[in-house]
């Protein structure tokens, strides 16, 4: 674009402003190009920018009163538009930091923590069940031993009393053994009753405490 084309283009772009303003602007740029020198013409035309840009700048300058922008070294700036844009950006940032960030952190924590929590809970559960079953087995063993010993004692007592008539020494020995076994059976029966009334409720309490602690901990981590 040469100077003539440039000025014609600018003139046609400024056709919608008043004659006075248009002549003023055209004279300014005509002077400007003259003063820049014919030898620098192309360079100056390029650094001035397009006729469209210049026409826009001129028109914005005319609407100076009552508009929201101002001229700075970079050209006309509309401050309301800029501020609205900034506010939007800030709003977007706030939104994303509230929702996206929090959700991501919660999700990551859940994903990282869930296998660990599940395995811990599973381990504790199976350990509790194992102890419970073991204790029950122990209790049943003791109870069974008590009952069997009691039966043995009665059998020995019956045989011992029968032996007293034809083999008094063996009969006394058998009665003594039956008394010993009977005492042992009574001890085992007492032990099983004690386990039933004291040890099992205590164990249940311990296990339930453990579980409630575990669940509280889990809840606390979630919140």
């Amino acid at each position: 674009m040469n100077r003539l084309e440039f000025m014609q283009k600018l003139e046609s772009l400024l056709s919608d402003i008043s004659d006075g303003e248009r002549e003023e602007a055209l004279q300014y740029y005509n002077d400007y190009l003259n003063d820049a020198g014919v030898e620098n013409e192309q360079e100056v035309l390029e650094s001035l920018g397009t006729p469209e840009k210049i026409a826009k700048t001129i028109k914005e300058g005319l609407g100076d009163n009552g508009t929201t922008g101002e001229f700075t070294e970079t050209g006309y700036k509309d401050y309301t538009a800029q501020h609205e844009e900034k506010n939007e950006v800030i709003k977007k940032k706030e939104k994303s930091s509230l929702s996206g960030g929090m959700i991501a952190i919660i999700a990551i924590l859940c994903i990282l923590a869930s296998p660990l929590l599940v395995s811990i809970a599973g381990g504790l559960l199976s350990a509790g069940v194992g102890i419970f079953v073991g204790v029950l087995g122990f209790f049943f063993g003791i109870a069974l031993a008590g009952i069997l010993l009691f039966v043995t004692a009665i059998v020995l007592l019956v045989i011992g009393i029968g032996c007293l008539f034809y083999a008094p020494l063996a009969g006394v020995c058998l009665i003594g053994a039956s008394l010993f076994v009977g005492g042992l059976s009574l001890f085992f029966i007492w032990l099983s009753v004690w386990i039933c009334l004291r040890a099992i409720p205590w164990l249940m309490r311990v296990v339930s405490d453990l579980f409630s602690k575990l669940f509280r901990k889990k809840g606390g981590e979630k919140a």
């Binding site: 920018g49 700075t72 070294e73």
Partner: protein, 108 residues
């Protein structure tokens, strides 16, 4: 340029440049002089000059030069008053900023 030059500062710079030539100066020369101080697109000054002219801070006259008419800008009385206001405001402002930068002491 890191810092923006607002409208008031740009007006003040233009008035200062134009007042440097008591006989008046012209658009191209004003632009080049302003561009020595701040980065400025070449098309920015026309609306500023036009507004200062409308606000009666600048007056224009045409003078023949090398066989053609050239438009000259000259600071009016009102323009000079406006410039001295800008200068004193700038002095206060820059002293405060300098004071803060150099260790919190504000020189009055």
């Amino acid at each position: 340029m890191v810092f923006n030059t607002g409208a008031a500062l740009l007006d003040a710079i233009v008035l200062a440049v134009v007042s440097g030539d008591p006989e008046g100066t012209y658009g191209y020369k004003i632009t080049q002089e302003v561009r020595q101080v701040i980065e400025l697109s070449e098309s920015t000054l026309y609306p500023v000059l036009r507004r200062l002219q409308k606000d009666e801070c600048l007056e224009v006259y045409d003078m023949e030069c090398a066989g053609r008419n050239r438009r000259y800008y000259k600071v009016t009385e009102r323009g000079r008053a406006q410039l001295s206001l800008y200068k004193s405001e700038w002095k206060k402002y820059s002293q405060k900023i300098n004071g803060m930068f150099e260790g919190g002491i504000v020189h009055e």
